[in-house]
Amino acid sequence: MVFGVVTQSPNPILPSTGEIIWSVISFAILLVLLVKYAFPPVAGMMAKRTDKIRDDLEAAESARRDAERLLEERRVELGRAREEGQRIIEDARATGEALRQEAIQEAQREAQMVREQAQLQVAAERSRLILELRSELAGMAIELSTRILAHELASSEVDPLVESFLAEADSE
């Protein structure tokens, strides 16, 4: 009768000994088996997944950093190549300009030389012509003097002789 009262409590709110014992046993079994055997594989799998995701993310991050570094390197190299190209063009332009200036100066120098030679030739020619003219005039003067002297002998003929000589000289 005592057990009857204890195990089947008349008041529905009061606990019953049997139920307390079985609920404690159930909970104890659950905790022991769960903590020792059932939980670790699940937690292990989750930890493994977390590690894998972390590793993957780190790998992706490192790959991204590598890609960025390479891109930066390429950018720097491209900039350098562009500067190099610009420098080559500038050099070529400067060289071309220098060559042009040199050619112009050379041409001017040559022209000057040609002009000077021509002037010298003209001067020499002129001197030669003057000399030639002088010697011809001298010859003519001598011939005229000779003719006048000859004509003095016949003075009446002097004037027409002089006239004819001068007419000859004009025609030449």
Binding site: G18, S23, F27, L30, M45
Partner: protein, 256 residues
């Protein structure tokens, strides 16, 4: 007289289950004992199945159990206890599922009895939590320091301590286990009685043909309440677990 057919069972009949075995001993085995063992078994089976699959991309049971563990780890343990509490995740997970399945038996056809609507289940659980957090506190902080941190709030004038120490003593060491046990028991008992009430009314109306006119109302309420009780089952399991985490966290970290 329409409702003369309603035969509401006495409350003792709804809660005090007859023995199945060992009836005359302290180990009286009844429906509640079956249910508590069953909830432990279901939890273990689910974890064994989830642990055996070990797929990198979880599916099915593995997915559900891992989500639950993840939820308890992040939303209960780390939020409340911090990193130090991670060692308690299996313990708290077990507690959560044990209470959850015992709650959900309320809406399982042919079982329809939450084991947690019995103080025989909630009082031992609350006492286990009570003893655990006191033992953890004493082990972690030492006897004197633990009780000092639990009873004497820091930064309070000495004069006020005369008032505060008894209040802290009452709230931490007397009200806590009582509140834990009664909150769970009360909620589940109330839900159980509500469902029984509407089920009895629906049945009575169904049996009495004239009552069919108003049958849909209590029957629909019964459906809605069943859904609500599923929600309450989850909520109460969560509340019990998170409060346990709070108490354990205080014991680990010195509280206040």
């Amino acid at each position: 007289m329409i409702f003369a057919g309603i035969n509401f069972p006495p409350i003792a009949e709804l809660l005090n289950w007859k023995p199945i075995a060992f009836g005359s001993t302290a180990f009286m085995f009844n429906k509640i004992a079956v249910l508590t063992l069953l909830s432990a078994a279901i939890t273990l089976v689910l974890f064994f199945v989830a642990g055996r699959r070990q797929q990198l991309v979880p599916r099915g049971i593995q997915n559900i159990m891992e989500s639950a563990v993840d939820f308890i780890t992040n939303s209960v343990v780390i939020d409340v206890m911090g990193q130090e509490g991670l060692a308690w995740v299996p313990w708290l997970t077990g507690l959560f599922f044990f209470i959850l399945f015992n709650n959900l038996f309320e809406v399982i056809p042919f079982i329809q009895m939450p084991a947690t609507a019995r103080t025989s289940v909630t009082i031992p659980l609350a006492l286990i939590v009570y003893v655990t957090f006191i033992v953890v506190g004493i082990k972690k902080q030492g006897f004197g320091r633990y009780f000092k941190s639990a009873l004497v709030p820091s930064g309070v004038p000495v004069a006020l301590l005369i008032l505060l120490v008894p209040i802290e003593l009452l709230s931490t060491f007397i009200v806590r286990p009582f509140a834990l046990a009664v909150r769970l028991f009360g909620n589940m008992l109330a839900g159980h009685l509500l469902l029984v009430t509407f089920a009895v009314i629906s049945e009575a109306l169904f049996v009495r043909s004239i009552g069919l006119i108003v049958l849909p109302l209590p029957a629909a309420t019964l459906v809605v309440l069943t859904g609500y009780e599923i929600f309450v089952g989850f909520l109460q399991a969560f509340i019990f677990t998170i409060l346990t985490a709070v108490y354990l966290g205080e014991s680990l970290g010195g509280g206040h």
